[in-house]
């Protein structure tokens, strides 16, 4: 919930700490996008709290001139939940990576999503463990050769969006570190959405997993390989805006069509991020190149009660009804006797 309009700029959110990510790391761009988004949210500066776990991306709070907590591996979801329930007036952000939230913190991640705690979760997905120097992560592609999988991984990766929807998530969006503007736009929407908002940012690790998302960031082809979804707009993509998505009802799957004689814009699916039934969102989330374009933008954004507000409301409700108003009342409640 925004409090007032502020006059801050991105610069006001930079802390005095030297940024120590590798030159060329995607994290720099994501931080820029967040610092640009924050002044547009209408919160007072002291009401932002950035909470992270462990990993390259989790150093993020140190570089932000806001309240920040760099915690322990995997637990940022739990710590952020505590912060938000303790003070629902704060704008709470969780910064996490694919190791931090999908592996060691997987349990906390699905539960913050399930409870719908009003926290903005920015998941930097570089499909590798960078801080420990190059081991595969739960999102590494099948067969990835890394220091702990010299012969290729033999396990299927998680798709964060699929996990979010499986955990009854109400907000999921995807962006990429090479598209600063889209990141900024999505972060603003994530913040405005009340509830757990998960934003997966495809991020490049220049040292240990360089070019893992290159197919999607390639200048020449990116517009043909990705689609930016916007609520209420038809699902068109391609360099020349000549392709679109339809639902192949017979096989119950999404299909790319060329716009022209056979299909026109009217035949295309129109994105409805607010649809409560997660079926179509799951299909959009799971679209993978080269069969289908990878979906960017806010894929799912459904209104629902938030955990932190519900806790607050219940406390107020019970307080109003109870005859116990202080500890002295409590101690004397129930069966007592005089001596």
């Amino acid at each position: 919930m925004a409090d007032i309009q502020t006059n801050f700029t991105a610069k006001d959110f930079k802390s005095d700490q030297e940024v120590r990510w590798c030159p060329g790391c995607g994290d720099h761009a994501i931080m820029n996008a967040i610092q640009r988004a924050l002044p547009e949210l209408g919160y007072k500066k002291e009401n932002f709290a950035f909470i992270s776990g462990i990993g390259c991306s989790s150093r993020f709070p140190y570089y932000m001139d806001t309240y920040g907590f760099h915690s322990i591996h995997g637990r940022a979801s739990a710590i952020a939940s505590g912060v938000k329930v303790a003070n629902p007036n704060l704008s709470v952000w969780q910064i996490t990576g694919d190791g931090d939230s999908m592996a060691i913190g997987g349990n906390h991640f699905i539960h913050i999503v399930r409870r719908n705690v009003d926290v903005n979760i920015i998941l930097f997905n570089n499909e590798i463990y960078g801080l420990t120097k190059g081991q595969y992560s739960p999102t590494s592609k099948y067969g990835s050769v890394t220091k702990t999988s010299p012969f290729g991984t033999v396990e299927q990766p998680f798709h964060p969006g699929e996990l979010v929807i499986g955990a009854q998530g109400k907000f999921f969006a995807r962006s990429i570190d090479t598209n600063l503007k889209l990141c900024q736009e999505i972060f603003i929407q994530a913040s405005k959405h009340e509830g757990a908002s998960v934003v997966e940012v495809l991020q490049n690790c220049v040292i240990y997993n360089d070019k893992t998302h290159a197919a999607l960031s390639d200048r020449e082809h990116k517009e043909d390989r990705t689609i930016v979804l916007r609520h209420g707009e038809p699902m068109i993509f391609g360099k020349n805006k000549d392709k679109g998505l339809i639902l192949d009802a017979k096989h119950l799957k999404l299909k790319v069509v060329e716009l022209g004689d056979e299909y026109t814009e009217k035949d295309l699916l129109v994105h409805n991020a607010e649809e409560t039934n997660p079926g179509i969102h799951l299909m959009l989330t799971n679209m993978a190149y080269p069969e289908l374009p990878v979906a960017f933008g806010v894929i799912r954004s459904v209104k629902a009660q938030t955990y932190d507000k519900a806790v607050q409301a219940q406390v107020e409700d019970v307080k109003a009804k109870s005859s116990i108003k202080c500890v002295d009342d409590l101690l004397k409640s129930g069966t007592t006797w005089e001596v």
Binding site: E46, S71, A78, G82, N89, N107, I324, V327, T335
Partner: protein, 614 residues
């Protein structure tokens, strides 16, 4: 059935209710205890139940017991029972060894059929001879039959009828101890407000049991138990878990902070989370987390955000919380971790008491990670020590581990209700506004506590975290000298708490032959044994510890005045090891027991006499 009954006058008496875990023995025992307190007895209770919710019916594994010690000046639930109520053969088999020689055993003879005896593991059809109980006063009462008879017109279904047999037994015990029925009747009326049929049935069967005992008085002893000499005041019964929850709420009120509890259910600590969840009327926020780690981490988040944050657990949960406790040490945030100890290692004995988490509380973390460790010693003083733990956590900006155990957590005793006006205020070192040159790790020179600037405070934006902190700025520092300094500061900050806690007290003479040393939940047994021996003229005193880290400042002074020191614990010697390390100039004897049971005063007295005579 051979003995003639007498009227027995006693200062105190121990009754044990024992039956299948579905027989309602905990309720029966609680109702007897509440009635006794109501008519002026002092008391102490010990519920002893299996970890299975419904172990196979009629087996020893499924026996649930409730022991209560009533009379004047009671500090323990008693070692051995004067009267045992055994609702089935398994209950008799499991608990007859806890009855005093020649004591009274009331049996539901209806359950002593071939099947019941076999399930309990009896090899003959005469359990009395088989277990050599012929010297005891055995009262065989057809409790199930008489219950059915009493309720045949009640309109209750057969299952509900049979479930009321515990109230028949309770009625009998009320007659034996000359207790009024009205307290229990009122309880029925409140509990089953919407089911008048159930109220009437319970009242009826309670009275039927009472009348039956009177009718067969030739074989039933009757007792007159001395009332306690108790200070004037308003009293209530309270168990340790409830007292802990309330002590934490009281601290939040005194600190003018909101209370947050992130926790995960675990025996025998769950009741703390349950009671706090029930106290939304006092603004308590509870968060039932997905696991123990999330329990403490949500609390650490809440503490960062400015709440009085607590988490409750038992041994295995404390192990899981270890890394996060280290985070609270590093970030110097106030946090209370309540550990209701149980038998270990691993899942161990979830419902049985033990003091074996002391070393885990002191040292069970990576790195040099000092925290304050406090231990409560009786069910009711859990209130006081929970309050103190929270006060220390907030005022000294440190995690505090409060140790209780399954024995005092579930045990109950009458408690003179305190007034919050008599409790001290708690002053949180909150940084409320921007001051020139404020740094997040600058500290108060006396306590060494840093200030607490919660998000939302204008101009004090800062970052904390698990990486080593610069001693002033709080920013990340890898500097070797700074790490040494911070390591020393964290330890010194905890040690300085000793300037704010009471000195160690000696019960009895301040010098003498033998000093008995204990800590935490063994207080009742140690105090009773020491006081018994003192009355018999022995030179023995007791020093009982509630503050473990830091220790009270006068330990050396106290210890130096005795010829011998014996440290008694229900573990293999953890506190004595700690004392040998912190106060190595003394020689310590030790007495340990690890059976998932409290001490008995008898074994303690034997041990102390042996030490006195050596």
């Amino acid at each position: 059935m051979s003995k003639k009954a007498d009227v027995i006058e006693r200062n105190d008496v121990v009754i044990r209710f024992s039956g299948d875990s579905g027989d309602g023995m905990q309720l029966t025992g609680t109702l007897f205890s509440d009635t006794s307190a109501f008519i002026g007895n002092d008391l102490s209770t010990f519920p002893d139940y299996p970890s299975e919710i419904r172990a196979p019916q009629g087996t020893i594994g499924g026996v649930s017991g409730f022991q209560v010690h009533v009379g004047a000046k009671i500090k323990t639930p008693g070692d051995y029972a004067d009267i045992l109520v055994a609702m089935n053969p398994a209950a008799l088999k499991a608990t007859a060894k806890w009855v005093k020689d020649g004591g009274t055993i009331i049996l539901d003879e209806d359950s002593f059929d071939e099947r019941g005896l076999k399930k309990a593991g009896y090899k003959t059809d005469n359990p009395i001879l088989e277990d050599k109980l012929d010297g005891y006063n055995i009262i065989k009462a057809p409790i199930s039959t008489l219950t059915k008879e009493a309720l045949k017109d009640s309109g209750l279904d057969p299952k509900s009828v049979l479930r009321s047999k515990n109230m028949f037994a309770l009625g009998m015990v009320y007659w034996i101890f000359d207790r009024p029925l009205n307290y229990t009747e009122t309880f029925f009326e409140k509990k089953f407000k919407k089911k008048p049929m159930v109220v009437e049935a319970n009242k009826h069967v309670l009275r039927a049991g009472f009348n039956y005992a009177e009718t067969v008085e030739h074989m039933t002893p009757s007792y007159k138990v001395s009332p306690a000499k108790i200070n004037k005041g308003t009293y209530r019964n309270i168990n340790g878990n409830l007292a802990t929850a309330w002590g934490l709420i009281a601290a939040a009120e005194k600190a003018n902070l909101e209370l947050f509890c992130g926790s995960y259910p675990i025996t025998p600590a769950t009741e703390i989370l349950q009671e706090l969840s029930n106290r939304k009327d006092l603004g308590v926020k509870t968060f039932q987390a997905e696991d123990e780690i999330a329990g403490i981490c949500t609390s650490i988040g809440a503490s960062f955000a400015g709440d009085l944050a607590v988490t409750s657990t038992s041994g295995p949960g404390l192990a899981l919380k270890g890394e996060a406790i280290g985070l609270a040490v590093m970030t110097e945030l106030p946090l209370v971790i309540v550990n209701v100890q149980r038998g270990g290692p691993s899942t161990g004995l979830p419902t049985k008491p033990e003091q074996s988490d002391l070393m885990q509380a002191l040292y069970g973390r990576n790195g040099e990670s000092p925290v304050v460790v406090v231990a409560a010693s009786t069910p009711s003083d859990c209130f006081h020590y929970a309050f103190q733990a929270a006060k220390i956590a907030v005022e000294h900006m440190t995690p505090v581990i409060l140790l209780t155990d399954g024995f005092i957590a579930n045990g109950s005793e009458p408690w003179k209700i305190p007034s919050m006006a008599d409790y001290p205020s708690i002053k949180a070192p909150l940084a409320k506004e921007k001051t020139e040159g404020w740094n997040s790790y600058e500290r108060d020179l006396e306590k060494l506590a840093r200030t607490w600037a919660a998000p939302g405070t204008i101009g004090l934006e800062h970052r904390i975290g698990g990486l080593e902190k610069d001693a002033i700025k709080g920013s990340v520092s890898q500097d070797p000298i700074n790490h040494q300094k911070m390591t020393d500061i964290r330890e010194e900050k905890v040690q300085r708490v000793s300037n704010y806690i009471p000195k160690l007290k000696v019960e009895g003479e301040e010098s003498g032959k033998l000093l008995v040393v204990g800590w935490g939940g063994t207080y009742g047994h140690l105090a009773t044994s020491v006081s018994d021996l003192q009355q018999k003229g022995h030179s023995v005193s007791l020093a009982h510890f509630n503050y473990i880290k830091p220790l009270p400042s006068n330990v050396k002074e106290v210890f130096s005045k005795f010829d011998k020191i014996v440290v008694c614990e229900i573990n293999s010697g953890q506190f004595v090891g700690y004392l040998r390390m912190t106060n190595p100039e003394f020689k310590y004897e030790q007495y340990n027991k690890v059976q998932g049971l409290p001490f008995t005063t008898i074994e303690l007295e034997e041990q102390f006499i042996k030490l006195l005579e050596e």
